[in-house]
């Protein structure tokens, strides 16, 4: 008679009796073997498989031995996958929680209302809602930078005689503005703009205002003669100024402000940011130092020494 299935059974039984002492295990295995041999002797028509089936799974038998002796019943792990599913689930939860924390941290304040300008800033400046009285519409700004803009840009340029102008005010919505020293003593701009709007020019009490907020997107190079103060205001994008020669105020909601100072000029910096980073910049305490004010919502202010 082929006893291989019996030996295989007994091996499994021995292994399932793990918590017990070696001598006890050997004793139990021998007794079960003895039982099977007795059963086969008593009824030779039975098969080994039949006798073993009547005994039941070796793990179940071992479990009963352990329970009788007061050991905690060994539950066969029905599905090891469940363990991993739980781990995966918890892992995902923690990642989501972390993401939420980062989002909240980055996009606060949630809502900021600016009554004087008639605008509401959401999610820490990511979205800005302006009540455009003239057009009677609400203007959502901020997300255009996320969704690329394929519309072709048109060129606009102009230059203005700087006589009797002491200050330039340049306003834009989204885009990039580079302010550089003028080479011909004139205030000039050269822009590529998206076609919806025009750049409006107006002058009042020595201030030249260039309103480029009409176009959704601008890319401008503005040239300023010496000693003309600059006030650049934008929503999203980048403002860079190179070698400012007069008091300058740069305001941006989201993006980057870059200041490249003139090495031979003394500056006093007033750099403010809500979220992001500011380069360290040495302020001079000389009385005639040029005042550079930068006010940024989210992003980075860099000072290139």
């Amino acid at each position: 008679m082929n006893l291989a299935p019996l030996n295989a059974y007994l091996e499994r039984l021995d292994r399932a009796l793990q918590p017990l002492a070696v001598a006890d295990r050997a004793d139990i295995v021998t007794e079960i073997k003895s039982h099977v041999l007795d059963a086969l002797e008593k009824d030779p028509s039975q098969s080994i498989q039949g006798v073993l089936a009547s005994l039941g799974e070796p793990e179940a038998v071992a479990s009963r031995y352990l329970i009788e002796r007061g050991h905690k019943p060994k539950k066969p792990s029905k599905n090891p996958m469940i363990q991993w599913l739980v781990i995966g689930f918890l892992g995902t939860l923690s990642i989501l929680a972390l993401t939420l924390v980062v989002l909240v941290w980055k996009f606060t304040p949630l809502i900021e209302v600016d009554g004087s300008r008639g605008s509401v800033s959401l999610l820490g400046g990511l979205l800005q809602v302006r009540d455009d009285a003239a057009k009677g519409t609400f203007h959502f700004e901020g997300l255009e930078s996320l969704f690329g803009d394929d519309s072709p840009l048109e060129s606009r340029s102009d230059d203005v005689n700087a006589a009797s102008i002491h200050r330039l005010r340049f306003q834009f919505s989204n885009g990039k503005v580079d302010v550089l020293p003028s080479q011909d003593g004139k205030i000039s701009y050269r822009c590529d703009v998206s076609p919806e709007g025009e750049i409006k020019k107006s002058t009042a009490s020595n201030t030249l205002t260039l309103d480029a907020t009409g176009p959704r997107k601008v890319r401008c190079e503005v040239r300023l003669p010496k000693s003309i103060k600059a006030e650049i205001t934008g929503s999203n994008g980048k403002i860079s100024i190179s070698k400012p020669s007069a008091d300058t105020t740069l305001r941006l909601s989201n993006g980057k402000i870059e200041i490249a100072p003139d090495a031979h000029t003394e500056y006093r910096y007033d750099l403010r940011i809500r979220n992001g980073s500011i380069d360290r910049a040495e302020s001079s305490d000389k009385k005639n130092a040029i005042q550079i004010v930068a006010d940024l919502g989210n992003g980075k202010i860099s000072v290139d020494d």
């Binding site: 007794e31 079960i32 003895s34 007795d38 005994l55 038998v61 329970i67 009788e68």
Partner: protein, 116 residues
């Protein structure tokens, strides 16, 4: 039959099963597992072998039973023979006494007339 009955049956059986096993082993002086299984079956107490052997194993641990390995003859396989220890014998008579009491209480409860 409601579930309650089956669980009650299991509970009650557990009690008198051990009693019957001890009684049988004592009556025959010593028995080995397979033999005991057959005798229980004849009595109308069929017990799964996967249940009996662990029970015998536990009772030996508790010193109610003692065991001895014996091989019938040169060609046979070893068999584990069980017999009652002195403690086992005392336990058995205690159990039998208790059981007698239970049965007589049961009889008198049966005889109780339903109050009108």
């Amino acid at each position: 039959m409601p579930v309650d009955f089956d669980s009650w049956k299991t509970q009650v059986r557990k009690g008198y099963l051990e009693l019957c096993i001890l009684r049988l082993i004592q009556a025959h002086r010593r028995l080995y597992g397979f033999d005991l299984l057959e005798k229980l079956a004849v009595l109308g107490l069929p017990l799964k072998e996967g249940t009996l052997y662990p029970m015998l194993n536990r009772m030996t641990q508790e010193k109610t039973l003692q065991s001895v390995w014996e091989t019938e003859n040169l060609k046979g396989h070893p068999r584990k023979f069980y017999s009652l220890t002195r403690d086992g014998a005392r336990l058995l008579s205690g159990m039998e006494e208790e059981f007698e009491t239970m049965v007589s209480i049961f009889r008198s409860v049966q005889k109780t007339k339903e109050k009108a």
